[in-house]
């Protein structure tokens, strides 16, 4: 399946490279490209740098572009305008916070998301300051609920959180971990759950039972990490 690439556009080359570095931790095989600063290495954005990055990143199934400030968006939109109509459809400029959006998009791309899913992951990465802000209560009705203990040493840090989200996303069921959406990487990471903590998994929907079984097995197996 063609993969989705990600382009980080910032006025600062350091910011763009730093965001790529951070996102790459969770997406080692995804094409993540930094397009920061002007051609001379100053503060600003470069049409040519962004064009080149978009061309490379979209070579697979397309590319999602994340931008920092206004003129980064203007320059990126201009780059897209200069593409052929067929290529235009393979590039999405996501309306998303740069850092959180890049991390969420990278995980979505790494786990095989298509263009819409990766763009959606980026733009939904908002409001994570309070992970419980839109906490969902799935209790009642046919909800399946089970609890277990985190056994791996690092808890639900980035990679295990990404694994959990990837598994949860494969089910139709609505799934929560400690009340937050199990399909949202940033919310799961925001739970800050460490080793030895108890987590409650709850699910509703046709495959709720299977979803809970799989997530419990994943957690009990320590996400493949040493305890």
């Amino acid at each position: 399946m063609p993969t989705i690439g990600i382009v980080i556009v910032s006025h600062s080359a350091k910011i763009a490279e730093g965001v790529v570095e951070l996102a790459r931790q969770m997406a080692p095989s995804t094409t993540l490209l930094a397009a920061g600063g002007t051609d001379e290495g100053g503060i600003g954005t470069s049409f040519d740098r962004i064009s080149a990055a978009v061309a490379t990143a979209s070579a697979g199934g397309g590319a999602v572009v994340l931008c920092d400030l206004g003129s980064a968006i203007l320059t990126s939109e201009t780059v897209v305008d200069f593409l052929d109509d067929a290529d235009k459809e393979r590039v999405v400029i996501a309306d998303a916070p740069l850092v959180e959006g890049a991390v969420a998009a990278a995980v979505a791309a790494e786990t095989g998301g298509d263009l819409d899913q990766v763009a959606q992951a980026a733009s939904s990465a908002t409001g994570v300051a309070d992970v419980h802000a839109d906490e969902r209560d799935l209790r009642g009705g046919d909800a399946v609920e089970r609890s277990t203990t985190i056994v791996n040493a690092s808890g639900l840090h980035a990679r295990p959180a990404a694994e959990l989200v990837k598994h949860a996303s494969a089910f139709q069921a609505d799934v929560t971990v400690n009340g937050v959406d199990a399909k949202s990487l940033l919310r799961i990471m925001g739970l800050n759950v460490g080793a030895g903590s108890t987590v409650a998994i709850m699910a509703t929907g046709p495959d709720a039972e299977a979803a809970v079984d799989e997530l419990i097995a994943l957690i009990d197996g320590g996400f493949g990490e040493k305890a």
Partner: protein, 216 residues
């Protein structure tokens, strides 16, 4: 009387001279309510335009010259002005089509297409304290002047006068677009640098048109 590609080149040359001469003043305006690089960015962009213009064949039609300005500004101006003015010149080039001679109506189409390009790219309205506040009055004045039968140089003169007033009119405004919008009331009392440079660009068009009329 009409304007031709000799005028277009003279206009662009004059623009390069003016933004270079005014670059410190423009950057100073930008330092008040933005990131302080508007003058330097434009001077660098138009210096690159000037250099690339020498590579064009002498008989290049106006649209080809204007399109070169567009692509050069887009790739050499690091700030928002690059894509904004770049899109303006790009749409203006499209409006000129194959024309070799510009009458008053073509001058109006050129200005209108440029303004529409800026609005398309920046999504700003009149009164948002942006370059649109120079361009829209210029388009309106030019349309009225051409409707009254003025020649291209007079059309551009009325556009330039309106653009200058438009740029000055941004001083009391609160910015609703761009970096200055983060400043809220603190942007009040400062002229928008993009409106000011747009006024310089349109004034350069009027000045060079007046000179080419005198010569012909």
């Amino acid at each position: 009387m009409t304007l031709d590609s000799t005028w277009v080149r003279a206009w662009i040359e004059r623009t390069a001279e003016v933004v270079t001469a005014e670059r410190h003043a423009l950057s100073e305006l930008d330092r008040q309510i933005g990131d302080g690089d508007h003058g330097e960015n434009l001077a660098r962009g138009f210096a690159a335009v000037r250099e690339r213009m020498t590579e064009l064949p002498d008989d290049a039609p106006p649209a080809v010259v204007v399109r070169l300005v567009a692509t050069t500004l887009i790739s050499t101006v690091g700030g928002a002005a690059g894509p904004l003015l770049g899109t303006a010149y790009l749409k203006a080039a499209a409006a000129l089509g194959e024309a070799r001679e510009l009458d008053s109506d073509s001058v109006v189409s050129l200005l209108t297409a440029a303004r529409d390009g800026i609005v398309l790219r920046g999504k700003a309205d009149s009164g948002d304290k942006t370059m649109v506040d120079a361009w829209t009055p210029a388009v309106e004045a030019a349309t009225e002047s051409a409707g009254a039968g003025a020649d291209p140089a007079a059309v551009l003169r009325s556009a330039a006068d309106a653009a200058a007033l438009g740029a000055a009119s941004t001083e009391p405004l609160v910015a609703r677009k761009g970096r200055a919008s983060y400043l809220g009331d603190r942007a009040v009392g400062h002229r928008d640098p993009g409106a000011q440079s747009s006024s310089l660009i349109i004034t350069a068009a009027a000045d060079t048109a007046a000179e080419s009329t005198k010569e012909s």
